[in-house]
Amino acid sequence: MKLSGAKILIESLKKEGVEVIFGYPGGSVLPIFDVLYDNPIKFILTRHEQGAAHAADGYARATGKAGVCLATSGPGATNLVTGIATAYMDSIPVVAITGQVKTHLIGNDAFQEADVTGVTRPITKHNFLVKDVRELAQTIKNAFHLAQSGRPGPVLIDLPVDVTMAETEFHHPKEPDLRGYRPTISGHPGQIKKAARLILQSKRPIIYAGGGVIISGASQELKKLADKASIPVTTTLLGLGCFPQTHKLSLGMLGMHGTAYANHAIMESDLIIAVGARFDDRVTGRLDAFAPEAKIIHIDIDPSAISKNVEVDIPIVGDARNILSQLNKIVKPVQTKKWLERIDGWKKKSPLSYKKDDKLRPQYVVEQIYELTKGEAIICTEVGQNQMWAAQFYQYTKERTYISSGGLGTMGYGFPAAIGAQVGKPDSIVFDIAGDGSFQMNIQELATAVANKLPVKVAILNNCYLGMVRQWQELFYKKRYSFTCLANPDFVKVAQAYGARGIRVEKKKDVTPALKQALSVKDAPVVLDFIVEKEENVFPMVPAGEAINRMIGGMA
């Protein structure tokens, strides 16, 4: 039987296990929307295509499955761009489907035409322009395979409207057809043996774990390695949750706003075991001063991530879970007692802290969210101080519970991502720990959350500032607060106008009751407007370009 391209698209998505599409209609996707009209596949109408892209990304991070978003040609597609770039930087499997003008009009500056494969080429893992309906089914198979395998990432499929209208026989291909694409999965046994030997010889080893651990589902193996060899673990921002922060070997996050003890430990280490992390500049600080005595074992599925920023002694290319389980079979206990004592000294001397008085401080809000959700919630964040406090003052114990735009640092990411996470995990408590600035970048998605009865909780750490930028201005630009002071709307009223709940909290003692009230709402989003100390800073902090043990502020 012949099917239209639009039908083939939706049937193929179902065969790929897709349960939900986030998107927005328009002229060149009308045939697709006509199929969606009475199709059992779930469709979530966002209020901006950027919201759809972030929601697909949040869904993917929360569930581990590919997220799918759909937009029309031209402006619809270009509105996806920030979301696609966000997913690309953090290696998130997203499949973006965009309408395109009719094939014979491509290149003519037709109405709502944009060269979307051109625009997204550097921010997708790969993209496709389908010019013939007979190639559609195979292209979708390839797209999902690419998005989810190897180092995952967003893949875009551009579909001219005549291709979605044309008909052909539908056969769902069993296999992808990509001869140039062969990610390495199992690590080289010789390299793994060398790594085990190096670990045994080390005196001050440290595991530096990133988002790749979560992507490959390697948390259990990582824990085994740490326990078996008694090696402390620090994680990147995106690695939060891959190792329980309640574990005695946990050092929390490292880097620019990492813990003092994680930064001291990595700087003094003689062996860094990097797993699914990429030595980003926010982590290493000044490169030529980074961990001067350390040998480096680098486990990563992407060969191009290895020796890109730092020279690596033992590269092991492959899937982290696979490699760690091989390594765990041969690794032997290491005498790290002294080393752990030294680290404990730092932990005692410089814990993460903030002023405990009766002012309403943002860190306190995050701590209370942790207390009330017992670390079981999914915490999405915006970008800025809110993101860092959410990373510092909530103890993550499970993977896929801290969801944040790390690589691109996209303000406006957290709320739509929380919507996606809530759709994917309907039984979980989902928070967006937000800034007053960031939340306003996708505040329109309140309508999406209300319409779909999603009980996402937005906890605005409202400091009336673009706080993180203000912090830099305070510290490095003589307090010249150039355009970082915000005149905000009444967020409670805004929430109410959208049909959401709104709660304002101005006193410390009201934080817990307000959170409890928010947690009791099960069928609507809740906006919590926490009026916090305006000029609170995120500490410790490594100034840009400094070595990461040169921290300022806090007790560091």
Partner: protein, 158 residues
């Protein structure tokens, strides 16, 4: 140091843009790039000559080329025995005194000669990078009006 890469890619639209975009986005300099079909209609061949300032960048270039979904095979020919060729057209301003000197150079390099213009001679030289280098050295003292080169093509001897 200059490196010559032989790259097999899918013969699809957009592949050249992906390769060019990769170099542009990462600030790697392409010295020459020659693309052509192969005996397999689904595969194109690219010879890419790049100047890699250090090992780290060279490694990145290789890895990034390999990472492209549409690349089938990447070889750094510099590390092995290979054949390379380039065709160069050079137009040189001549008068009665200079013309014989140019013709002599042409003969020594087995160049083809085009003398259709009254006050210029165009040489067509095919050769490996040494020969092309010699040609350009020999012509240095003359008034060159135009040079057009195909860019290097190369193939492993194995």
């Amino acid at each position: 140091m200059k490196h010559t890469f032989s790259v097999l890619v899918e013969n699809k639209f957009g592949v050249l843009a992906r390769v060019a975009g990769l170099f542009a986005a990462r600030g790697f300099n392409i010295e020459s790039l020659a693309v052509s079909p192969t005996n397999d209609p689904t595969v194109s061949h690219m010879t890419i000559v790049v100047d890699a300032p250090d090992e780290r960048i060279l490694e990145q270039i290789k890895k990034q080329l390999n990472k492209l979904v549409d690349t089938i095979k990447v070889q750094d020919l510099t590390t092995e025995d290979f054949i390379d060729r380039e065709l160069v057209l050079v137009k040189i301003a001549v008068d009665a005194k200079i013309r014989p000197q140019i013709l002599e150079i042409a003969q020594s390099l087995e160049a083809k000669i085009d003398e259709a213009a009254a006050n210029a001679v165009t040489l067509e030289v095919v050769g490996d990078k040494n020969k092309i280098h010699t040609l350009l050295q020999l012509l240095k003292t003359f008034e060159i009006k135009e040079v057009v080169r195909t860019g290097r093509i190369a193939m492993s001897r194995k």
